[in-house]
Symmetry: C2
Subunit: 338 residues, 2 copies
């Protein structure tokens, strides 16, 4: 059955039920007393005193996702992770979420309930219970997610991780590995059938995980500067450089890349790790000592990949022979190997 | 110049500047200490303890608005009012807002800065400072707004106004007048040129005002049930009846309708006042005594238009001769005069 065959009232009831059937309560639900839920003009709750963060993101069909290459349940998961990752990049935890859907009417109801299962799964796992939403007619399918986050430590006012606080001499580090999501997407899009269907790379693309615990730790242990890698390392580190009025040197041979990525993309893994989006890792800067403390304290692997310079606004990419390319906010200037 | 001719970074800087140039601070800004603003992964602030509400809405080009009939600045204003009205319908005040824009790339930058002027104007006037946003490519222009509200009285936990708390015997009342926005839209859409271009009706359509003061008063003076009229009186009162498992009798001759609406639409004013959307008035129910107290205490005119019955789930529309029509959540059953 399609969306256009039922009323908006029935649709909202179906989506609300999917959320409540699939959401598993977390610690948040004991701190924040919800007094009104999904079925009113707005959700309402009692909040304790504390620092909050608020972010929004939108995913548009055929721009940010393609349902030929991923299931609706994965799309729901990923839509949530994009916003959870923004909250993580501030050093906070996801709290409450609203979901605004633009629907053509041609969507199957099964597709939508799967989408909401994925949303509820990610909220159960990483926080950000859905408390409000909206459905509307649109020529293009879109999902707009807004998320409120909070400071899990009530006793202190944690300074959020910011983009504008990198300093020349800071070490640049990243969580996890880079380029895997972009590699997974290339495999899914491969029409030649020649690429090995590496499940770990595909998994990185369709089921990314926000680095919430890492972000929370960093904000409380002397790190001041971070952002999440949604558009690719160079673009997102570029935002840090632009905001902080600094430059950066990045060493290719220090980039954390899985052996899978290197073996499936022997010619392209460098480019994938520098420019591939949607890894949802964190890139952050700090003193060598504070970064080393992070490496030994955080469960997620952390790699030092370069340092902040005063060469505003360029990011120099270095290989074993020296300069390999230079990136500014307007894109790559060049790549020697191309 | 068009959106597609500048970078996303430049676009965001332009929109942020438009917001800060046009936003005038309110009392909220002294209670909530903002620590991170627009230019990061998320906005951050220190919130005092208290009840909060959270809502989202989306407006899509050619579905919810048509830029042939209204200016971009009015569109920005109206996009905000739709969410401010949801907060008002809970009895709360707008606090912070995120704006997610889907853009085709063909939009003129002037159109976008006008849109954000309208957004900043409405935030200055009724609350809901914009602290976050997102722009994305889309085949369809859309504006998705999420808004956080708060309880302006810190000393008590005000019960939000809900849809599901109407009781048989309650009196039904509305703020302001009905049908004016729909009348204004008909004038704007009039191709025959025969309708008088009544500026008050047009103004009701392009510059609606959320009933925040009325909502705040109602929630603190014994009213438990309210919603805002965005889809039309019968549809929105229908939501109350559906949620509360009640029915309602509405008397046409008590509907608050301006003399302008009657004179421009002598044959259609009844239908416009019953089904016209986007008036952003409040419809609420309560004991006769509490409604009378509201009438004598609230600045906005309030009209008693009928009562809640146990005739779930129908709304009977009565004229001087008795039954004129019956409405359920699936729409009108009939109208005698048609």
């Amino acid at each position: 059955m399609k969306v256009k065959e039922i009323s908006e009232f029935e649709l909202i009831r179906l989506l609300s039920k999917t959320l409540s059937d699939n959401y598993k309560a977390s610690e948040i639900n004991t701190i924040y007393n919800e007094v009104v839920g999904l079925a009113d003009d707005a959700a309402a709750w009692d909040a304790p005193e504390g620092r909050q963060v608020f972010t929004t993101d939108a995913l548009v069909n055929n721009v940010h996702f393609d349902l030929r290459f991923m299931s609706s349940i994965d799309l729901g998961w990923k839509s949530m992770v994009a916003s959870q990752s923004d909250i993580a990049a501030m050093g906070f935890k996801p709290l409450f979420t609203t979901v605004s859907l633009g629907l053509t009417g041609e969507e199957n109801l099964n597709m939508l309930t799967d989408l909401y299962k994925g949303i509820a799964d990610a909220a159960s796992q990483f926080g950000g219970k859905v408390v409000g939403g909206n459905t509307t007619k649109s020529d293009t399918l879109f999902i707009s997610i807004s998320m409120l986050g909070h400071d899990p430590s009530n006793e202190s006012r944690t300074n959020p991780l910011k983009r504008h606080s990198a300093k020349p001499g800071d070490v640049v580090a990243v969580t996890g590995s880079l380029g895997s999501s972009a590699g997974g997407l290339r495999i899914l899009q491969d029409k030649t059938g020649t690429l090995p269907r590496c499940q770990d790379l595909i998994g990185s693309h369709i089921r990314p995980r926000p680095q919430i615990d890492a972000g929370v730790w960093l904000a409380r242990h002397g790190i001041q500067c971070a952002t999440d890698i949604s558009d690719g390392l160079l673009a997102d580190l570029g935002h840090i450089c632009e905001s902080s009025k600094v430059g950066a040197d990045i060493k290719i041979n220090t980039l954390p890349v899985t052996s899978d990525l290197k073996s499936v993309f022997p010619a392209d893994w460098e480019e994938l790790s520098l420019t591939g989006g949607e890894d949802y890792q964190l890139v952050f800067t700090g003193t060598k000592q504070s970064i080393n403390e992070a490496i030994s304290s955080i469960d997620t692997p952390i790699s030092i990949i370069g340092e902040i310079t005063d060469d505003y606004p360029g990011i120099n990419v270095l290989n074993s022979e020296g300069m390999s390319g230079r990136y500014t906010s307007s894109g790559f200037d060049h790549f020697k190997n191309k």
